[in-house]
Amino acid sequence: MLLNNWLILKQELFLTGIIVGILVLWLASDLKKETWISILNIVLFINVCIPFIRFDYGNIFGDMFQTSPLIVFEKVLLSFAVWIISLFSYDWLKKLDHLPEFFVLILTSLLGMYFMLSSGNLLLFYLGLEMSTLPLAGAANFEFGSKKSAESAMKLILSSAFSSAILLMGISWLYGMMGSLDYSVISTQVGHSPLSILAFLLILSGFAFKISAVPFHLWTADVYEGAPVAVTAFLSVVSKSAVIMVMIPFFYQIFEEKIDVWYPAFIFLALASLLIANLFAIRQQNIKRLLAFSSIAQVGFLLIGLSAHSQTGATSVLFFLLIYLFSNLAAFGVVSILSSVYGKEDIIQLSGLYKSHPFLSWVLALALFSLAGIPPTAGFFGKFFLLLSGAGVSNTSKYWIIGFAAMNMVISLYYYLIVVKTIFMNQNPEQSEAYFPSTDPIPMPVRMALIICLAGLLVVGFLGGFYQHIFQLLNGIN
């Protein structure tokens, strides 16, 4: 293999290098936690920047591994999210006994996503999918000392294994029909036999599970609640984004012919996700659970955008994912602080947060507003374009769908506002002092992460040029 080929793989190689490096350092030296964290944060930042050194695109390993500007962009997004997560988990990481191992797991998962995104073949795709899930199940258990953490890990691994078994069944049937696992082959000969529909349904359910669309979502809330905040954030932002990013070429190109199956399926999943998730979210007491349901609802919007089956639809999805990344990570950043102070994340504990921590309050509030899709936050633009492109299909009932989604935005606003209300309007249970002690200053990395997210969720929406850039990245996607 030539150097060029290796350069195509440079993101993966660098990430593998980090993983190995962590293991070596772990075995070889006895670093302090703070040192570990700072090194890792720097390295992860470099990981984000790697592709900017030199852009290399192409297919290697006999088209099994592909890169394109789009894929590189997506990988950058994911690694950026991981960097942010590692920044804002500072407090938690400092207390974590198994810090290097945790990072090995998280980064393996990220690596799996890289493979998944770059895959040109169902084998590598499946491998990447599993690689991105299994270590996370382990990582979900890393909140040692919490029964919930173990439970969530158990739920995650069993349900994801179940779903991957079903996905695999679908792949096997597909293989039986195509005789190949290569995307290039599959895309040319997807048939319309019942078996192909069945196989496709099973594969679809695997995707739906990963992005936790209703009714495949039930693991989400429990796992999010029990897992450590870092893992929850990773699950809700990175995993979900990665799968959705894969879904764009998967459904737009490989299974394009199956649009008459996946369009109604997507619409059903989208509407069910919106409705059920919102109805559940309204009554949540725990903010992680709330964010879990909120992320399910966001998936509903994303699916509407995806269902558009157009370049603009794909653009809106990616744009929204970027915005979602900033908003959700900002929210989880604040939640992680809450969690590290109390060890639990009930909404009621945010009471009177504004008095003691105005900065955190604004970050959380704006993040939630962005998730709700209210200007001037970027979420407004994201949702607007998602739904707008969703209305671009030639379907007679499309406006009902858009209307339904829009009404769900209203419902979703309600539960976001409940949190905002708790932050700004509720009185502290103790009159004299802030419920949330303001003695500990927010650590530098956390502050940095929050500021980045805040800037992102305020600014990104306005960047029309950036949107156009994504649009061009997606040239050729339908």
Binding site: M1, T16, I19, D63, V104, F115, G138, F142, G145
Partner: protein, 170 residues
């Protein structure tokens, strides 16, 4: 007249299915593990029957030698082997059976609908040597990348298992 190989297949298949059923219904967890073992060995037999020796070997080494042993160990670690498992509720049993039968029915129906070409011309299937070469090839049809990738996965899984399993509980 059915050739012997065909009869063999049906026997193995029946064995696998029966032991699988027993494995998912047995009240004794240890017995369930043993039935699983039989079932997995049977599947290895199917691989042999299909002339997939390498895969059969892997099946035996990994499943029989690895996973089942792991399962049995974990059974020992978590509970007494003599303990009976609780009965699931009748409603759940019925409903699960219904759902599974429905799924099975649909699958069988759609498989039947799909006209598979009958057993194709007997081209010689690549042997173990070929497989080995492909495993490490970087060209078209090569699996070096997944091979390397899965090693990292295994590494991570190992680390995760060690950390989690060795962690003292609260």
């Amino acid at each position: 007249m059915m050739p012997a190989s065909a009869i063999l297949f049906y026997i193995i298949a029946a064995l696998i299915l029966v032991s699988a059923i027993l494995s998912v219904t047995s009240r004794k967890i240890f017995r369930a593990a043993i039935w699983l073992l039989f079932s997995l060995i049977g599947i290895a037999g199917i691989y042999f029957w299909l002339d997939m020796n390498f895969l059969a070997a892997v099946q035996i080494v990994v499943y029989v030698g690895g996973i089942v042993v792991l399962i049995i160990f974990s059974v020992f670690l978590t509970q007494g082997s003599g303990q009976s498992l609780p009965y699931p509720s009748i409603g759940r049993l019925f409903f699960a059976a219904l759902v599974c039968l429905f799924g099975l029915g649909i699958s069988i129906w759609s498989i039947n609908q799909y006209g598979y070409r009958d057993a194709a011309n007997e081209v010689g299937f690549p042997g173990m040597k070929e497989l080995g070469k492909q495993m490490l090839s970087v060209d078209q049809g090569g699996y070096a990348l997944p091979f390397e990738a899965v090693s990292i996965l295994l590494l991570a899984a190992m680390i995760a298992s060690i950390v989690i399993a060795l962690k003292k509980s609260i």
